[in-house]
């Protein structure tokens, strides 16, 4: 049972399974854009603020936060299916398992062809190198490869949109290249192009592209969804599909370490080799660094590789392997590959690169209190007043992530002051006192005529 806001302005793949939500406050405290509230005992995601980073999925002990993705049965709707495995998929396996074996496993799962997203990453690396070399950008240039970071900028740092590198992400490039190779042979609508994703952010980016153009990707299937079956196929040797049967995938040169390295934080920078680079990962840390850039700092940095997940995509919320184990696997795999590449260098990406430049990213007004500036100012004033009366403990019991957020919710009519448990207790205490007071005030008819009272004279 999945429920969203029903508001379709923004599509999101992070959803709430309401029947599993216990209304605890773990997720609201962790959300980097304060997009979650507990209302009526259940978490609610504010669509205009959610960036699909998946922090809440990681955080929820009850597994009530889920990501809607496609699954293998959706392949039936297309005559020809192409899998686009994120390089992170390789990190789920021991480095002894060759990429070739993983590709064969995907074919055995039912795909007709495999196109490595790492190949797309090679193209993007070359394009970013060119973009940086031309030098016509606002420093620091911020990588737009991680859709959760792009959305964080759209929602919380709209003033930094011009810093984003306006190029397609590797998966989009890979999808286009995969489709192009069948142009004129298979009708485009018969081809299903499926991204094997480490995260819900990529899933959302496919459904609702960040820069507004239609995606060449048909759908996304999470790594965790196929991992079990894939592992079985690979380790049992059942992946021995006839290579002749599905020639396209394996006739192609495999992706190089440059593209595969994008799975871990630092991989992009290693491929782009800017003069001065900064690598930041984990969404809250990314937010902190963006704050610095917004104040005009870090102008000496040429390129910022920013990734929402701790460790990079290998730390994605829809992966299976522990982030550190995955990183270890990946580093070993890269070492091995680089040794091979020393003996036999991979072919260079053809240049100039025919890459689609995205039209640009639009800001989202997730934080604005009102469309009218004067009304917004009044709301802000009321918010500060409301906040001054709240205890400032940021406990989250009210269902809002902080006292500040509750104040905002009250002003926006989405909460009441009595939602604060301390305020409620204060009121109960005041009422109790009043009751005691009232109880002591006996009616005249019951009052004993005490000699000491009113000078003893009585009336």
């Amino acid at each position: 049972m999945l429920s969203g806001d029903g508001m379709e302005e923004y599509f999101h793949s992070v959803r709430l399974a309401a029947d599993r939500c216990k209304g605890c406050v773990n997720c609201i405290k962790r959300c980097p854009t304060e997009a979650i509230r507990i209302r009526g005992g259940k978490a609610r995601i504010m669509q205009s603020r959610c960036i699909d980073c998946g922090e809440c999925i990681r955080r929820c002990a009850n597994r009530a936060k889920t990501a809607i993705t496609d699954n293998l049965s959706d392949l039936e709707q297309y005559k020809y299916n192409i899998a686009l495995p994120a390089p992170t998929l390789y990190a789920q396996f021991s480095p002894d398992i060759e990429v070739r074996a993983i590709i064969k496993g995907l074919l055995a799962l039912g795909f007709d062809e495999v196109y490595e997203v790492a190949k797309g990453a090679e193209y993007v690396s070359a394009a970013v190198r060119e973009y940086i070399a031309q030098g016509k950008f606002e420093k620091p240039a911020i990588s737009s490869a991680c859709p959760a970071v792009v959305k964080l900028i759209q929602v919380k740092f709209p003033e930094l949109i011009d810093h984003l590198i306006p190029l397609d992400a590797p998966v989009e490039v890979a999808a286009n290249l995969a489709r192009v190779s069948h142009a004129g042979q298979i009708p485009s609508e018969d081809i299903g192009v499926w991204f094997i994703t480490p995260c819900p952010a990529k899933m959302t980016a496919v459904r609702q592209p960040l820069a507004g153009e239609a995606s060449a990707v048909t759908g996304t299937i999470s790594i965790s969804e196929i991992y079990g079956r894939l592992l079985k196929l690979i380790t049992s040797g059942a992946n021995n599909v006839e290579i002749a049967e599905k020639p396209d995938s394996l006739g192609r040169e495999e992706a190089s370490s440059e593209g595969i390295g994008w799975a871990i934080a630092g991989g992009e920078s290693a491929a782009v080799v800017p003069k001065s680079t900064m690598i930041v990962h984990e969404i809250h840390s990314v937010s902190d660094v963006l704050e610095q850039i917004a104040l005009g700092k870090l102008k000496d940095v040429e390129y910022i590789e920013a990734l929402a997940c701790s460790g990079g995509c290998i730390g994605g919320p829809l992966t299976v392997e522990n982030r550190f184990v995955a990183e270890h696997n990946m580093r070993k795999r890269l070492e091995h590959l680089q040794k091979q590449e020393e003996l036999q260098p991979p072919s260079r990406i053809p240049s100039p690169i025919a890459l689609k430049v995205t039209k640009g990213f639009e800001p989202r007004s997730g934080l604005k209190l009102d469309e009218d500036i004067v009304t917004a100012m009044k709301k802000l004033e009321l918010m500060q007043e409301t906040l001054r009366n709240l205890p400032g403990l940021d406990c989250g019991s009210c269902g809002s992530p902080s006292c500040q957020a509750l104040a905002e919710d009250i002003v926006q009519g989405a909460a009441r002051e009595a939602d604060c448990v301390f305020k409620l207790r204060e009121r109960v205490r005041d009422m109790a006192r009043e009751m005691v007071d009232l109880a002591e005030k006996l009616p005249q008819s019951m009052e004993k005529n005490d000699a000491g009272r009113e000078g003893g004279d009585g009336i």
Binding site: E34, P158, E159, I161, S287, D288, E291, Q292, A294, L295, G296, K297, D300, P363, S365, L367, K368, L369, D370, E371, I373, V374, A376, M377, K378, L380, E381, Q384, L387, G392, D394, P401, S402, C403, Q404, A405
Partner: protein, 157 residues
């Protein structure tokens, strides 16, 4: 950046019938621990009331440079910010030591920042020119032994 004003909100927010949000920040000399927080808060408020991102950014950068100069070069001071529907008005005042040659200080690249400040990434001599560039109206007056006053007005388009 936190979404709260709590703790570092050492100013007050007031509004009268003229619709103005007034903020006041006390800036302590050498206190780098809260550096940038005033500017981030101003920017957040501008976002909340719907001032265009590009404008909010100029205001935040101007405020940040002013904030840092007081922290780095002066004996301490305060920043007052008035946010109106059509403009933001920032005035910064410190308690000395003042600038002997304001014209020189305004030149790009002029800085008296010592090495330990440069090691922290400041001291490019770009702060004052940046403030002037970020604002639609800019003025600076300074008296040695008394202090420096800066005013920046940025219109909201």
């Amino acid at each position: 950046m936190t979404m709260e004003y709590g703790g570092v909100w050492n100013g007050c927010l007031e509004m009268n019938s003229r619709q103005v949000i007034q903020l006041e920040f006390f800036l302590e000399a050498g206190d780098f621990s809260t550096a940038g927080e005033a500017s981030s808060q101003i920017k957040r408020i501008l976002q909340q009331i719907g001032v265009k991102a590009e404008t909010a950014r100029r205001i935040a950068i101007g405020a940040y440079e002013a904030e840092m100069n007081v922290i780095i070069h002066s004996l301490g001071g305060k920043m007052r910010v008035a946010i109106l529907p059509d403009r933001t008005d920032i005035s910064v005042e410190d308690n000395g030591p003042g600038i002997a040659d304001v014209k020189l200080a305004m030149q790009e690249g002029y800085s008296t920042a010592p090495d330990h400040i440069r090691d922290m990434g400041f001291g490019a001599g770009m702060g004052l020119p940046n403030m002037a560039r970020c604002s639609d109206e800019f003025s600076i007056t300074s008296e040695v032994g008394v202090g420096t006053k800066i005013r920046m007005v940025i219109h909201h388009p």
